[in-house]
């Protein structure tokens, strides 16, 4: 412990199942090690290390289910956990929507998500990386606040019908905000990867320092509709709200932006600009993800929006059965296609517009139109004749990702991007969008 090898996980879970007397039993184990360093005011503030695993036992009699967990692994403790789950199942109310556990599944070989070098990160290595970032802040005469976290994890799943799945992974996430000492400028950069070798703390820190230095003495523009160039870190926080809303059941029930009169939905309709293609692919080398979900459903390559047409929605196993379609699990990562243009080239092609480097505090305003509000943050610039002319004060926006993707002008090259709000990763291109709706100005820097 904490990271079990596949054979050891299989042996342990088989032993747990051998104690089961329920109609069905599903057991899973997961855990790992994480380490982090947090810094602010050009100095380390907090840091830590956490290690642990947990075993979950789900026992079912008919449509009655009980769940228990334990993190002690002697035989007596394991049997006690199974007995408790069974007792609970007998006491639990029936759930008419309960679905039986899945039978054995065939999973295509998973992409490589576990990188030994990331798993081997030490306290000293983390401190050295943070030291780089602090050095760049000192040289640039700005104040840095940032966060570095790495983790190595595993999970395994087995049930009484013979299903077994096992996966491992590593992650490293870094983000940094640099602010000018007079408080008039701020810049942000972030990155998240499976492989520590892909993370360039120095480059990210320099990018943040550059934005901080360029964003001081911002001018106020009138709120209104503007052409915007959204950096991927800005685009992801709006798009992740679109992804999360692609649920078949709520659309069918008439309580989604995808609902239409008479119980119909927009599935199959062209909803956004034909440049928009969004899919998920666990084997994409740029952002590999797991090959099964928490229930053991295989994750496959799925096209969600193709040439602007809504192609697929998520179907829970219950809703899929009710509707007579295949269950489609929520993927671990989305990929939006783009072109080959760089951010700089998108800016070059902009006659007049606003460069938005980050959006913040995104909240739903109206689920019927997927309207969201939020603000620009940490570097917002006016573009004229293809050049960044000057920094502008931050705006509040009220915009729907559906309206935004209908107003799409151009896409750049997708980048692996970490959401500054939810923390999830996605492949997001820089985007140029016309008529983006800014509703007020903010004094925040």
């Amino acid at each position: 412990m904490p990271i079990l090898k596949q054979d050891d996980a299989k042996t342990l879970l088989s032993k747990v199942l051998s104690f089961s007397k329920a109609d069905e039993c599903q057991v899973s184990i997961g855990g790992g090690d994480t380490g982090n360093v947090r810094y602010a005011r050009n100095s380390v503030s907090t840091s830590g290390s956490v290690s642990g695993t947990q075993l979950v036992v789900v026992s079912t009699f008919g449509k009655k289910q009980g769940i228990t967990t334990i993190n002690e692994y002697d035989d007596a403790s394991l049997e006690k956990a199974v007995r408790r789950a069974e007792t609970l199942a007998q006491l639990a109310p029936e759930n008419p929507e309960h679905m039986p556990v899945l039978g054995p599944q065939t999973y295509a070989p998973a992409a490589t998500t576990y990188i030994p070098a990331t798993a081997a990160m030490s306290t000293q290595m983390r401190a050295n990386l943070v030291d780089q970032s602090l050095g760049i802040a000192r040289d640039a005469k700005v104040t840095a606040a940032g966060y570095l976290e790495d983790s190595a994890y595993f999970s395994a799943l087995m049930n009484s019908r013979g299903l077994f799945g096992y996966s491992t992974g590593t992650n490293v996430n870094f983000s940094v905000t640099m602010r000018t000492d007079d408080g008039t400028g701020s810049g942000y950069a972030s990155g998240g990867y499976n492989d520590i070798a892909d993370l360039n703390v120095a480059a990210a820190s320099k990018a943040a320092a550059w934005k901080a230095a360029r964003s001081g003495a911002a001018k106020a523009l009138e709120p209104g509709k503007y052409t915007v160039v959204l950096e991927p870190a800005a685009g992801i926080v709006l798009l992740e709200n679109l992804y999360g809303a692609l649920d078949a059941r709520s659309a069918d029930e008439g309580r989604s932006f995808l609902s239409l009169p008479g119980g119909k939905t927009r599935l199959g309709e062209k909803l956004v600009d034909e440049q928009v293609n969004i899919y998920s692919d666990p084997w994409d080398e740029r952002m590999p993800t797991g090959n099964y979900n928490f229930e053991g459903l295989p994750q496959e390559k799925v096209s969600w929006i193709e040439k602007g047409v809504m192609k697929n929605l998520f179907y829970s196993r219950y809703w899929a059965q009710k509707k007579g379609v295949k269950a489609v699990p929520f993927p671990d990562g989305f990929i939006m296609t783009g072109g080959s243009a760089s951010l700089e080239e998108l800016i070059k092609g902009t006659e007049k517009g606003i460069l938005v480097t980050r959006l913040w505090y995104i909240r739903a305003v109206d689920p019927q139109t997927l309207l969201y509000t939020g603000l620009t943050r940490d570097g917002t610039f006016y573009i004229e004749n293809g050049e960044i002319r000057y920094p502008v004060k931050n705006f509040r926006f009220n915009e729907s990702p559906i309206i935004m993707l209908n107003n799409l002008e151009a896409l750049g090259k997708p980048q692996r991007t970490v959401s500054g709000e939810g923390g999830g990763s996605a492949m997001i291109p820089p985007m140029r969008i016309k008529d983006f709706t800014f509703t007020s100005l903010s004094d925040a820097i």
């Binding site: 290390s49 929507e97 008439g254 913040w360 509000t373 603000l375 943050r377 500054g420 007020s440």
Partner: protein
């Protein structure tokens, strides 16, 4: 940052499911003291100049239903130890669930190792405000009925009855939930404190949805309950403290059945409500709405860690900079605005005996007569604002996470002159009366905000003229609080709050209450949020 997004997706994943209905097992205090001493001694022996230990058993229970179905009953429990040290002048932290002497000592040693490694990146050594040790003491939320001891069946039946009431009232769908929290936490430090606390919280809530097949539109109305630092007695309506107006409003007891029945009618009525005309209005904000505005526009900007820049990379900084406080005349709001911070208010989410670094709970002013007079600080920040002692704002969501500065209850004091909401409304010519919290967003320095609500009523010439929809109000914090023209008296004072105030990296949640009486704000910008896709 602020309060978490979608409610159900933000259930804190602090622990692992354990059997619902399992008796609440507490760990023997003598054993916890022994474990704490193992950690403190190990940390000291490795060179820590200060150490504290939190041994926590954190228990949550969720009962989740929709219409006539109980979707899930989940009990989570998490047990472990978090050890924080100062070594070489820097903080270090390590946590483990290996609760034998060896596992605890190893975690303490790792915390010291991390502190020493980080000390080379430290500009100035950590400076802790002095704190006397309390010896062996304890504190418990003063609950009347422990929710964990109420049978799961009884809770499920209540929620199903709530759902039935909503469906009978015309709802198309209803989702309801009951969340219970119990933090059994033991704190010990090298200052000589051994503090055992038993904290309880409860939150019953629902969302009623009314769809219209002909138009394809849908409207919702969320519960007007508040998460509270109470036991199951919150769900025993007594009739006392209830406020009847455009809808039923509740103080210290919540009638969930009644609220669901009313919600169904109101969700239906929203379909026919007039879409608001954008412009300036005088707003009358019920405490079910105003608590969230207080949270975002006063609670967060007075957090000293934000003021100093510790949250610059995530939640943000604050417009309430130290120079404004030092001036002793920064005009945050109108003279009517008095904001108080506390960790002591009975029935509130923030109430504890001691914070998570062994400081006794207290109350202090933040805004007095509209002027900024103080912040929220912990032990390693107190000296920065000239305090000799911490204000007791340190909190961690679990044993796994390091404690840091979190928001105490922050409340608007009620008005001194007798004034009821009805009397307040009667004096408004052109206004909107807003009940319940809805969409919310504020910038990273807490200047520009936008809030919505659950129910909106047009006020014309002192009278409620009908229901509105598509309403959101936008303002600048300082302008908004300076437009505060009247506050109802203490008869109308109620608590709102959240389980999911988010801040920090890695992000942690904090539970916090905000008290207020209905208040009036003049000339606030209202936008129309209706769009077509």
């Amino acid at each position: 940052m602020g309060i978490g997004g979608a409610m159900l997706s933000r259930i804190p994943v602090l622990g692992s499911p354990v059997p619902p209905g399992m008796p609440l097992e507490t760990v023997d205090v003598a054993l916890k003291k022994k474990m704490a001493d193992v950690a403190l001694n190990a940390a000291r022996s490795k060179g820590a100049s200060y150490a504290d230990v939190r041994i926590g058993r954190y228990r949550n229970q969720f009962v989740i239903t929709r219409e006539d179905k109980v979707l899930n009953t989940v009990d989570t429990e998490s047990y472990g130890i978090g050890i924080r040290v100062i070594a070489g002048g820097a903080w270090g932290f390590a946590a483990t669930d290996k609760m034998d002497n060896d596992g605890i000592a190893r975690a303490a040693e790792l915390a010291v190792l991390i502190a020493k490694e980080n000390a080379r990146l430290q500009k100035e050594p950590v400076q802790l405000a002095a704190q006397k040790g309390f010896g062996e003491v304890s504190w418990k939320t003063p609950i009347e009925k422990n929710g964990f001891e109420v049978p799961i069946k009884e809770k499920a039946e209540l929620l199903l009855a709530v759902n039935a009431a909503a469906m009978k009232g015309g709802a198309s769908f209803v989702d309801s939930s009951l969340f219970l929290v119990n933090e059994q936490k033991y704190f010990a430090s090298t200052d000589g404190s051994y503090i055992d606390q038993d904290i309880h919280r409860i939150w019953p809530t629902f969302t009623v949805t009314k769809t219209d097949d002909k138009t394809g539109k849908f409207e919702t109305r969320d519960a007007l309950s508040a998460p509270r630092g109470m036991g199951y007695e919150y769900l025993s309506p007594s009739g006392s403290g209830k406020i009847n107006g455009v809808t039923a409003l509740y103080r210290d007891r919540y009638d969930m059945l009644e609220d669901a029945r009313l919600a169904a009618g109101q969700a239906t009525a929203k379909h026919a409500a007039k879409s608001v005309e954008a412009g300036k209005y005088d707003l009358v904000l019920d405490p079910t709405n105003l608590w969230l505005t207080i949270h975002e526009s006063c609670g967060h900007p007075t957090e000293l860690d934000r003021v100093l820049g510790y949250e610059a990379n995530f939640a943000g900084t604050s417009f309430l900079t130290l120079d404004k406080w030092e001036s002793k005349k920064f005009n945050y709001g109108s003279p009517l605005v008095n904001m108080v911070a506390d960790k002591t208010q009975k029935g509130s989410l923030g109430a504890v005996g001691y914070d998570d670094e062994g400081v006794e709970a207290k109350e202090w002013e933040l805004i007095r007569g509209g002027v900024l007079v103080n912040y929220q600080a912990i032990r390693d920040q107190a000296h920065i604002i000239g305090l000799k002692a911490s204000q007791g704002c340190c909190y961690s969501q679990s044993w796994r996470d390091v404690q840091f500065q979190r928001m105490p209850n922050v409340s608007l004091r009620p008005g001194k002159a007798p004034l009821s909401p009805a009397e307040m409304i009667s004096k408004v010519e052109k206004g909107i009366y807003i009940v319940g919290d809805g969409s919310y967003s504020i910038d990273q320095q807490r200047y520009n905000f936008q809030f919505s609500g659950q129910l909106f009523f047009e006020i014309k010439n002192g009278k409620i003229a009908g229901m509105l929809k598509d309403v959101a109000y936008q303002a600048n914090t300082q302008e908004f609080w300076n437009s505060c023209a009247a506050i109802c008296d203490e008869r109308d004072y109620r608590l709102g709050g959240t389980f999911f105030d988010g801040k920090g990296q890695p992000e942690q949640v904090n539970s916090v209450s905000h008290g207020a009486a209905t208040a009036r704000f003049n000339g606030i910008n209202v936008i129309n949020t209706a769009r077509k896709i």
